[in-house]
């Protein structure tokens, strides 16, 4: 019950924000928190619930970003359609990637995803006729859009804020739904012991591929959003190892295999990044690394994983 109340309060707060602050800087911060929550949630489905630690999830982010940007810039398609297609493209390439990488287990799987991500990055960097290579893609203006009669002001951050909220709710919803379903139970079993899961009659490959596809879809959506919000992408921004690793951090620090964990992780990490940027300009990654080490050592279930046990109504969980 408490969780539902918290969730409702959370959503209320999210929707009320624009009325509370008109400061674009804070709006940007919130958008970043939502963006990282999206990515953390995406990674969490595969890495947290199913225990398949991917170090190459930036692949799907990047593919989504490039799909959205290219469909708009080269074919003139609506960016919002492009956003959804970005997600779908992410899910689509996840299938062959999954089929290859899922033949491996544990750290070997992780390394394979890293290799795939690097290959994709290098291809994007070099296939200039498609991706414009290191020059990247730039959107100078977004198409006019009418929302219930009034034109949307793309210069303001608010429209992006609401889009981010919508995407995040979709991601959280998907995670919540899966966590309560048979698939979710199967994923947790796979994380515990894949042989036992097979022995219990679970089609482990199918479960992992579904988790990956949903995960890649969400990451692809986030990628498309990134492109439209920042209006510029290049291979090193969206396909980098750092991007992949930061996704892992959000989910691990926030709480592996929990629905709300990524939110907590994103809040922590964006806040830290901001504080560091304020005082030192650089170095926030030092803290990411340190936090990661502390969490793994003392709270492998993540910050939210630990905190939720203190909430009233908590029972012993796996």
């Amino acid at each position: 019950m408490t969780k539902q109340i918290l969730a409702a309060i959370g959503i209320g707060v999210l929707l009320a924000v624009p009325y509370v602050t008109a400061n674009p800087f804070y709006q940007h911060l919130l958008i970043m928190v939502l963006f990282w929550t999206l990515l953390g949630a995406a990674w969490n489905l595969l890495g947290g619930f199913a225990g398949q630690v991917s170090f190459g999830h930036a692949t799907f982010l990047g593919v989504g970003a490039y799909t959205t940007m290219l469909l708009y810039l080269k074919l003139g398609w609506s960016p919002w359609l492009g956003l959804i297609l970005g997600g779908l493209t992410g899910a689509l390439i996840a299938l062959p990637i999954g089929l290859i990488c899922f033949r491996l287990r544990g750290p070997y799987f992780s390394l394979a995803t890293l290799a795939v991500a690097e290959i994709v990055r290098l291809v994007a960097l070099n296939w200039e006729s498609l991706t414009a290579g290191p020059t990247g893609l730039l959107i100078t203006h977004l198409p006019a859009l009418n929302w219930f009669g009034s034109p949307v002001n793309w210069e303001s951050k608010l429209p992006f804020y609401y889009i981010a909220v919508a995407l995040t709710l979709v991601a959280m919803g998907a995670t919540w739904f899966i966590s309560r379903s048979r698939l979710g139970a199967y994923l947790l079993a796979i994380r515990e012991d894949m042989d036992s899961a097979e022995a219990a009659g679970i089609d482990t490959t199918r479960a992992k591929v579904i988790a990956l596809a949903v995960s890649a879809f969400i990451a692809g959506l986030a990628g498309g959003f990134y492109g439209l919000y920042f209006r510029y992408i290049d291979p090193d921004a969206v396909f980098s190892i750092s991007m992949s690793v930061e996704m892992v951090f959000i989910a691990v620090v926030g709480g592996i295999a929990t629905t709300a964990g990524p939110i907590v992780g994103a809040v922590f990490l964006v806040t830290i990044a901001e504080i560091f940027r304020e005082r030192f300009q650089v170095g926030h990654l030092i803290f990411y690394g340190l936090l990661m080490m502390i969490v793994i050592r003392y709270m492998p279930e993540g910050i939210w994983g630990r905190v939720r046990n203190w909430l009233p109504g908590a029972k012993a969980r796996s």
Partner: protein
């Protein structure tokens, strides 16, 4: 023809240093079953050790190895004993994530204190490359190669002739049996990690005069290192050496004969193929 030989020589020279880095990673994996994501950053520390030694004290990098390598050994033992030992019981993946965090920490501390500016060590004797048989060999690369060979030979003797070396090999094969035979596995873990770190640091020192140095170089290096170690077979020292030289050759030949931009891709594709079809490595000596 001359180009081919030149390319091969360059490839072997670079490859020998890759090999040393890879040996460090593979012995740690062999004994502790962990993949140390921070390994590349250890190389970086060696590189910057050499750099600061040269910039501040005018210490020739190759001489400074005498200082930095033992220091890295102790540092590595410290990391294992104080940090990693507590994490190992929680499993392979948690340890992997932990070392990823450590990597981020080290690389970004370096970035913070030393900035991201590219540094170089300009040795006076590096200006004129040696030209045996018309092949250009930069002196620092040649010296590095020679020292790397010596270190590798010493390591080989250590692993095969000394008690500690044998204990390391025994633990790598079967920690439980080794413990039953009286091996202090905790101590061996510590020494092995120290050794791995020292090898990485040594490679860093040796590479420093030949490369552009920057704090985040560890990221690319560790990825290449994985490729080598998987190609050669996880846990196999000869495999790591062969894999290192192989990658050096592949990159060198790829850059000249295929195309410069895609040369790194070749390595990764090879890596995936090996992981899928010969997980015990190209030579079948590793554990899968």
């Amino acid at each position: 023809m001359a180009t081919l030989i030149q390319t091969i020589v360059s490839g072997v020279l670079t490859g020998s240093l890759y090999a040393m880095i890879a040996v460090g990673l593979t012995i740690v994996f062999g004994v502790m079953r962990i993949i140390n994501m921070a390994h590349g950053d250890m190389v970086m520390l060696g590189m910057f050790g050499a750099y600061w030694g040269y910039a501040l004290w005018h210490l020739d990098p190759f001489v400074s190895a005498l200082l930095w390598v033992p220091l890295m050994f102790v540092f590595g033992m410290g990391v294992q004993r104080l940090l990693l030992r507590k994490i190992l019981p929680s499993g392979e993946l948690n340890t992997l994530l932990y070392t990823a965090g450590l990597s981020l920490l080290i690389a970004n501390l370096a970035l913070f204190f030393w900035t991201g500016d590219y540094r170089t060590i300009n040795l006076p004797y590096a200006l004129a490359p040696a030209r045996p048989f018309g092949i250009s060999i930069p002196l620092p690369a040649a010296i590095a190669f020679a020292i790397a060979i010596v270190i590798t030979a010493v390591l080989y003797l250590f692993l095969s002739r000394t008690d500690t070396g044998r204990a390391i090999r025994a633990t790598a094969q079967n920690p439980d049996s080794a413990a039953l035979m009286g091996v202090d596995v905790g101590r061996i873990d510590m020494i092995t990690f120290g050794l791995g770190t020292a090898l990485a640091g040594a490679a860093g020192v040796l590479l420093a005069p030949s490369l552009y140095l920057y704090p985040t170089v560890g990221e690319i290096l560790v990825v290449k290192c994985f490729v080598i170690v998987v190609l050669g077979g996880l846990g196999s020292v000869p495999g790591a050496i062969a894999g290192g030289v192989l990658l050096g050759l592949v990159e060198s030949l790829g850059a000249v004969y295929v195309s410069v931009p895609y040369k790194d891709t070749i390595g990764f594709v090879l890596f995936l193929l090996v992981l899928l079809f010969r997980p015990a490595g190209l030579f079948g000596v590793g554990r899968s």
